[in-house]
Symmetry: D2
Subunit: 138 residues, 4 copies
């Protein structure tokens, strides 16, 4: 199975149709067979009380990139469960989330993702996460 | 141990100092010994592509209410890990998150939360979650 | 919907058919509509290197009681995901796991459980957990 | 930092001191800087009612290999939280768990692991998992 040419346009259209993704400034950077990459520039309004990227926005990046990775294998999906691990404070000028399908079954898709923060020209792993998704009957 | 009078003001000040909480419209409804309650009115900008409350905003509510519940026992905390279960689409005119401490140790605090959506005058459980937090050395 | 009379016998038969449950000494204590309770006597062979009940056996109790609670609503199930939180060392003369369905949908069942250890006549919460299960096509 | 020569002997001694690991037949295959590998031969007594490796034994392999990987960086540890994803039935003649440290901080260590089953000469990913551990004050 190969990813249909132009599949990234479908992901970008989905993200453009998500008011929260638009507000956050999520950009779909790339996608492949079972993979996806999302970026977001630092946004002061998306922070918590001590100035780190809000845990909910971290969760949004993780869940969204996992969902897009899953979509490359299964089309439209809904999340059943996701989790996030916070390694170091999510601070930087730009964030990059990388997601991948670990196993795509007929009834459920297991995915995982990493979130990196760019600061002073170097990238650092700030969070990891997982999502379990279900294909939406088309 | 009893919660200091006015503790809720400290939580409200913390939430007021969080740009994302302010944007989302989170309100600290109440808190007690090891418990907290948060509310949020429906906000169109906080939705995903099919109009449900965005999974990241659901995560933000779960993580924040768990953090506030933990703070009633341990003061300032940081999240190490959180997870969310999505039961039914998060749609409604108002959301209410209820968090509680399951176990507060010296080095880590285990919490859990439920998220309810109000629609047509009735409330429905839409998501549950957990968070594991660490006290921040004061 | 009411639980069929004798449903507990089906759970006991399932547990009797599980070599690991038999080795561990799991007993199905009770079940109800969306609930189940499991017990296990202390067993020295089921411990880890410092004498606590092994994390895997804790996981087995959590997953099994969640599966039995799910089965009261959905019949045969398989686990997609489970997680365990370790609050205090799992030490005691007897363990009791209590599971409940949080939400039973057609395609997935969300459950949660607590594990208690009995020692010197008192019971203490030692772990909590969650499981996400799928109905097995009958 | 390099792993002390003979560190694997410490892990083997720890596993030998764990009655459950001994019963299960866990073997410490290898370890490195932030990594560990564990193996287990098929054992009929370790199965559930339909003949798959019991979810608790899968959890034991995941948690143990994560703990050993963490120990290569932090010495003695205790698990705060672990989770397991079940991809396909855990059936095979031999199981191999591979764990790695994702981030080792002073207060907590984030780890992840995969479980493979060998059958008819080929290996297949059957489960993945994560564990969050705390260093034990030495």
């Amino acid at each position: 199975m190969t990813l249909a040419p132009g599949f990234i346009d479908a992901l970008r259209a989905s993200s453009a149709a998500s008011p929260f993704n638009q507000w956050s400034g999520f950009e779909v950077v790339s996608c492949g067979e079972g993979t996806a990459e999302l970026a977001m520039a630092w946004k002061a309004e998306a922070t918590q009380h001590v100035g780190f990227l809000h845990a909910g926005v971290v969760g949004a990046l993780i869940d969204t990139v996992c969902g897009y990775a899953a979509a490359t294998r299964a089309g439209p999906v809904l999340t059943s469960h996701y989790s996030v691990n916070f390694m170091v404070p999510a601070v930087g000028t730009r964030f990059r989330a990388v997601g991948r399908v670990v196993r795509a079954g007929k009834r459920q898709i297991f995915t995982a993702a990493e979130l990196y923060a760019e600061k002073d020209g170097t990238e650092r792993l700030v969070a990891t996460g997982e999502a379990l998704l279900m294909p939406v009957a088309g």
